[in-house]
């Protein structure tokens, strides 16, 4: 064989860049948009997966918001701070500063204070009722705004305010009104042999059972009317505290410390069952949405893997060409993984739109507030892309293992 002498100077090998992101994305874009109908079908699986998660978690969140609002109204976030007892079972009164220090805690939303009622008070419908029939009713003395903290609603009338706080008026709990035979405001009842006008009747309050069987009068009137017992009356009997949701023990400790900075003997009680129900509701609905979404995403990932395997088989000629043009096996692998990621990215975006729309529609139909967890949407999209990448690994590996000659021979 001859060896001719040449005069041509070969250029140096220019070292290619490793892999440019823009080139990868461009190549993946060409690959995915080259077969639109198949791209849509492959992305559909991921779209449905993300949509299922977004819709379910959205519906769950809307449900949860509505349910939590009801639970909170029932007292799930209501704590009752009351005087504690020392080792000798002596009651330790709450200091006068307690309502203010409690109100200053970041977790506290509202505070309602009740004073200590005078001793031996009897409550009757009128003077004809025998003194022996006390109806098992109690007297409660409220400071201004106390009923607001409880979230009470009125079946009839209104509460005690600045216009009537120095007058002999009372608000009856639902059970108290029933036992006294009072059906509407305007009636009078006898409290400690004094006539009081009924200005309000409360709806039943599961969050504060004792007030259901109480006649509530204002602090200002009571102090005016019982000046000899003013010091005792001014002692706080209970502070109702509405807090933000949180760990029950942390809330209890915070309130106990704020109520009495020097003595730890403070009673803090909560509607424990409701609090537990609140947390359980929150957890279970979110977990359900997550589980269903994950299953749907896995199914979507399999559909992408399937399609990518078919794509690799169909595009062996292109793979051979790219290898001949200088693509390394790693470049080919990256190309197909990027295509799979792009498919799932499209699917993820479509799924977020579809899921959010569904959640909004369901919330609207159920009359609930739309409570999408906006922060989780990028995470759902990220999960979809991750599933796509994982699904693309095997087909991409097959593409990368093809030698240029066997790939080119296939066409």
């Amino acid at each position: 064989m001859r060896n001719p002498t040449s005069t041509r100077r070969s250029p140096r090998i220019r070292k290619p860049l490793r892999t440019r992101i823009a080139d990868l994305l461009h190549t993946a874009w060409i690959g995915t948009t080259g077969r639109v109908s198949r791209t849509i079908l492959a992305s559909l699986g991921i779209a449905l997966g993300v949509a299922a998660y977004v819709a379910l978690s959205g519906i769950a969140a809307s449900n949860q918001t509505a349910l939590l609002a009801r639970l909170d109204a029932l007292g799930a976030n209501l704590q009752i701070v009351a005087p504690g007892q020392d080792a000798a079972r002596q009651t330790i009164p709450l200091p006068e500063y307690a309502p203010d220090t409690i109100a200053r805690q970041p977790i506290v939303e509202q505070v309602g204070v009740f004073d200590t009622p005078p001793q031996n008070i009897r409550i009757f419908k009128n003077e004809l009722v025998p003194a022996s029939n006390g109806n098992a009713l109690a007297l409660a003395i409220m400071r201004p705004g106390a009923l607001d903290a409880l979230g009470t609603t009125f079946a009839r009338g209104h509460g005690i305010d600045r216009n009537n706080e120095h007058l002999p008026v009372t608000v009856l709990g639902s059970e108290a009104a029933y036992r006294l035979g009072v059906n509407d405001v305007g009636d009078r009842i006898l409290i400690d042999n004094e006539w009081y006008g009924v200005i309000g009747i409360l709806d039943p309050m599961p969050q504060a059972e004792t007030l259901n069987t109480s006649a509530i009068i204002g602090e200002a009137w009571t102090l005016d009317h019982y000046p000899d017992q003013a010091a005792d009356i001014a002692q706080i009997s209970a502070i109702y505290v509405r807090t933000t949701p949180g760990d029950a023990e942390t809330i209890r400790r915070t309130l106990a410390h704020a109520a009495n900075l020097t003595d730890g003997n403070v009673s803090v009680t909560a509607s424990a069952d409701l609090s537990k129900a609140r947390n359980a509701t929150s957890d279970s609905l979110t977990t359900l949405g997550l589980m269903i979404g994950m299953i749907a995403l896995a199914v979507g990932g399999m559909s992408i893997a399937n399609m990518m395997i078919v794509t690799v088989m169909e595009r062996r000629g292109e793979i051979g060409l790219r290898r001949a043009l200088g693509a390394t096996p790693g470049t080919i692998r990256m190309q197909f993984v990027t295509e799979a990621a792009m498919l799932s990215a499209f699917g993820g975006l479509a799924g977020i739109g579809l899921g959010a729309g569904t959640a909004a529609g369901v919330a609207l139909a159920a009359g609930q507030p739309l409570a999408l967890d906006w922060g989780s949407l990028p995470l759902a999209w990220g999960a979809a892309v991750t599933v796509g990448i994982l699904a693309g690994l095997y087909p991409a590996g097959r593409a990368a293992r093809l030698t240029p000659t066997e790939a080119l021979r296939s066409e």
Partner: protein, 233 residues
């Protein structure tokens, strides 16, 4: 520059047969291709033409023997290094064009530079020049389906030329074209090689082979050689 661009030194290629025994497709071959040389590889179907071309183009590795490119031992190179060599210095033209259907002629040519270090803007610029060189300057935006067979092969040639390769390997470039178009394509390849690139064309068409100074005949894996001078003698 002196020396050969490509040399094969006692190169063989064997594949495993169905019974597991190795079947030698290319028997020990030693040859050299100089800078700017134009060579036709001719032979009947199944004789090993494409196998020889794949070895010369570094698409496949010999079973035994040594392949050198510009003095560098290709058989000792890793996969990545061989890919870099092809990306920067070797052009390919195939019988079936291998154009990507969904993109324009310009994009198809630009893919020829995708694995080089050229910036994108420069790649497009050179791709446009290459398409103008093959007479398709007016059809940059056309997709393969909008081009005739001859035009598609021109796009494939532009894709090979765009990197200004040392050598172009064309595997039956006229195989899917009519005779006239085929000769036009060969003219184009010979013109392109006139810039100083070597050209190796696999063909079974004797009229195409006759246009090359040097011809390698391959039959049953054995390579022999004739030149214009031999025939005239």
């Amino acid at each position: 520059m002196t020396g050969d661009l490509l040399t094969l030194d006692h190169v063989t290629k064997a594949f495993a047969g169905r019974s597991g025994t190795m079947i030698e497709i290319l028997h020990p071959t030693t040859l050299a291709i100089g800078h700017g040389e134009r060579i036709a590889i001719v032979g009947p179907s199944g004789s090993g033409k494409s196998t020889l071309l794949s070895l010369l183009g570094t698409l496949d590795m010999p079973t035994t023997g040594t392949l050198r490119y510009d003095g560098d031992d290709v058989t000792a190179m890793g996969e990545r290094r061989r890919s870099e060599l092809r990306a920067a210095r070797i052009g390919f033209v195939f019988q079936q064009f291998h154009l990507i259907a969904g993109v324009s002629a310009l994009e198809n040519v630009t893919i020829g530079l995708q694995y080089t270090s050229l910036p994108r803007a420069r790649r497009r610029e050179r791709s446009t020049e290459a398409l103008e060189q093959v007479g398709l300057g007016e059809r940059l935006r056309h997709r393969p389906s909008q081009l005739s067979g001859g035009e598609q092969q021109r796009v494939a040639i532009a894709r090979a030329l765009v990197k200004h390769p040392d050598i172009i390997f064309a595997d039956e470039p006229t195989g899917a074209l009519d005779t006239d178009t085929g000769h036009t394509i060969i003219d184009l390849l010979l013109d392109a090689a006139g810039d100083g690139a070597s050209l190796v064309v696999v063909t079974h068409d004797p009229t195409v082979a006759a246009r090359f100074d040097r011809r390698l005949h391959i039959r049953d894996g054995m390579v022999s050689e004739t030149t214009q001078g031999d025939e005239h003698a």
